[in-house]
Amino acid sequence: MTEAEEETELVQETEQVEDAGKKEPRIGVFVCHCGHNIADTVAVEKVVEYAKTLPNVVHAEDYMFMCSTPGIDLIKKAIREEHLDRTVVASCSKTQHGPTFARAIEEEGINKHMHQQVNIREWCSWPHIKDKDGATEKAKQEVEAGVNRSRKLEPVETRQISTTPAALVIGAGIAGLRAASDLAALGVRTYVVEKESTIGGHMTQLNKTFPTQECPQCSISPLTNGVAHDKNVTLMTMAQVKNVEGSFGNFKVDVEISPRYVKDNCTSCGDCSAHCPVEVPSEWDSGMSMRKAIYKAYPQAIPSTYVRDKKACIECQTCVNVCPAQAVDFSQKKETKRIEVGTIILATGYDEYDPSEISAYHYHQDGYEDVITQLQLERLLVAGSITNSQLLRPSDGRIPRRVTMIQCVGSRNDQVGNKYCTGVCCMFAIKNAQIVKDAYPDIDVAICYIDIRTPGLNNEEFFKKAQEKGIKFIRGRPGEIQRDPVSGQLYVIVEDTLSNTPLKIKSDLVVLSAAMVPPKSIGTLGSALQVLRDKTGFIKEFHIKMNPVKSSRDGIFLAGAIQGPKDIPQSVAQAGAAASLAAAPLVRGYIEKEMLIPQIDYDLCVNCGLCISACSPNAIYRDAADNKVKINEISCKACGLCGPACPTAAIQLKNFRDDEIEDEIAALAVAPREGGHVHE
């Protein structure tokens, strides 16, 4: 016999001793007819008779509707008269009425975890309508299993954990700002961390928003200003989350803030920028214009303080000398702030896909300057753009005669590894096509698409409007963008699949509808937050249908495109949901948690730490003090994955211990027998 076996032997003995110490459990079994639903298939009375023969069952009865008030009263009465200390109700699924009965026994002063629900409807009478005897036998087994299971159940306390009354929002795009202002409105102290020098995100880069052609700057400015000046909000720009400790309700977050090299007394007069000799492409302008080494992303930028790009700067000190407020300060250093929050909202948004990967489209290659992305087109058309909102093509600054747009660039493409549909590009392109057509009626605009996807109110109508304006929709994905080396003319080669005709579309400007991809920085941030990412790289929601706002980790919620490509309204809606979910435990002041957690038998524990690696919510840790494995009761999710990982069965989830489940199995593995089966 191996050591392990000996030890398990040992456990069972000690358990028997313990059991002997406890007073015998008194179990009440209640079998429900559920009208005809159960009783027509399962011989309920037979089941009750059988239940009466089982050890520790001191009471068993059946009733038409156990969940009804009279039914509940039967249970309560039995508890009082028979001094039951645990109940087994054989009726519907535990999700349907399990809580009802649990509440009932709680009202009788018994811990709700002492109730065992047995499902003889969904799992027995309904699927086995055709086999009444079989169903009855199975029901007996299930009830016995329930009784066996209930025998060793222990009370589980529900604990209140007080929460740190503050929230952190990572990312100050439309989603982050929306969430932040909603949190602030609920009176929650909110930290907003943005890695860029300004807030507002991609939305501030846009020219118009579909389907109403509104001005995004006007839509978002109340938010940017609001958040920036809200007394409940602390704004941290040029800041990045480096490390997260603690768990739901009480996180400790380290935020690293890079220096602006310009002090807050900056009056934003712009002299520094005006005198700066260095010019580099402006990121905020998607490279469509140049900026200085000391700059402000755009005139309305918030915060309005200028910022110095250390990489580009040649340290000529001109800005230092010309600044009337002596605000420029090269000596500023990186600093790390530690903030304490109860919940976190992740809203870092997306990056635009870089089409140069698809070499047949020659994006960014010499001679193909007139191949741009939708975001770059926005930057051309936006008010106050370098072209003064005129559509002048990059190569020669002339107005194009023909504009061709290409959809699904980096979306629905196995070759580049983005299999998903970005979902917004159709509307994005349809909008820009209309803007171009409205401003320049004699420009021919064509959109090459695989499928036009415009779900939702007003979107299909918007598409129809575009058709009516004479924008040509060509169903085909271009194979290549071709350039005549002599004339420099661009051609888009595409098959119009609806007429089976390969087309060679002469194009003066080609606009690529590039996909939304996860931001480059998300890898490190994701691991700092210990949230799960799916294979696309976006952050994975807790449940794709039932909980798309929560992340895989308790207390961390998702808003906007970081969870997957989204348009503005979707991001705003999710941000609102995230804010309320994140605020609830903070406003209430505590989180409630049932202490259904594993227990460690330190006599058996060999301190190997395998349970630590098996624990997905990272709730198990090694205590530095005594080098023992401990459990963070708050972050434990009671999944029981630690159990199988343990070589000595030292760690066991309460009420799901191996021996308890073995008892349950004992009844199900063989045909029912008078007196039942007890696991030996």
Binding site: S93, K94, T95, N119, R121, E122, W123, W126, P127, H128, I129, K130, D131, G134, A135, E137, K138, Q141, E142, A145, L532, D534, K535, F542, H543, I544, K545, S552, A614, S616, P617, K637, A638, C639, G640, L641, G643, P644, A649, L653, F656, D658, I661, E662, E664, I665, A666, L668, A669, V670, A671, H677, H679
Partner: protein, 143 residues
């Protein structure tokens, strides 16, 4: 064969708290029938079904054991279903090497919204079990 068909069996199916049990509830609601041999043991996560429990079930006399979890990538506890899947792959290997059929223990996934996925799993369990019985190298119960 008919004897083989009529034989009363007991199959222990461990079902996770989310998609596993969910799918089985949906199947019931849709009144999709399956063999009464199927006996469901609710767990928190399919990853909780450890070899000890699986062997106990067979030892106690179960004819076969199935573990049903969420679809790969959809585990509510990140990777419990993966752990379980790999664990059962290993157990199958072991069974083969011991000269027993590896068709007695199987891992499945189901979708809470689609009862037929669970029922499909149940049917597959029975098919494999019957095949194993025909080959006559199933693990004897009650050892």
């Amino acid at each position: 064969m008919s004897e083989n068909e009529s034989k009363k069996r007991n199959v222990v199916v461990f079902a996770c708290n989310e998609c596993g049990q969910g799918a089985m509830n949906t199947a019931g609601v849709a009144r999709i029938g399956y063999d009464t041999a199927i006996k469901i043991v609710p767990l928190q996560c399919s990853g909780q079904a450890n070899p000890v429990l699986i062997l106990e079930a067979l030892k106690d006399g179960a004819d076969a054991v199935g573990v049903v979890g969420c679809c790969i990538g959809a585990c509510h506890f990140v990777n419990g279903n993966m752990l379980s899947m790999h664990r059962i792959k290993l157990m199958k290997k072991l069974f083969k090497e011991l000269g027993y059929s590896d068709q007695q223990i199987n891992h499945y996934t189901a979708r809470a919204a689609e009862g037929e996925t669970a029922v499909g799993d149940f049917e597959d369990i029975m098919v494999r079990l019957k095949r194993a019985e025909k080959e006559g190298n199933t693990l004897p119960g009650g050892w």
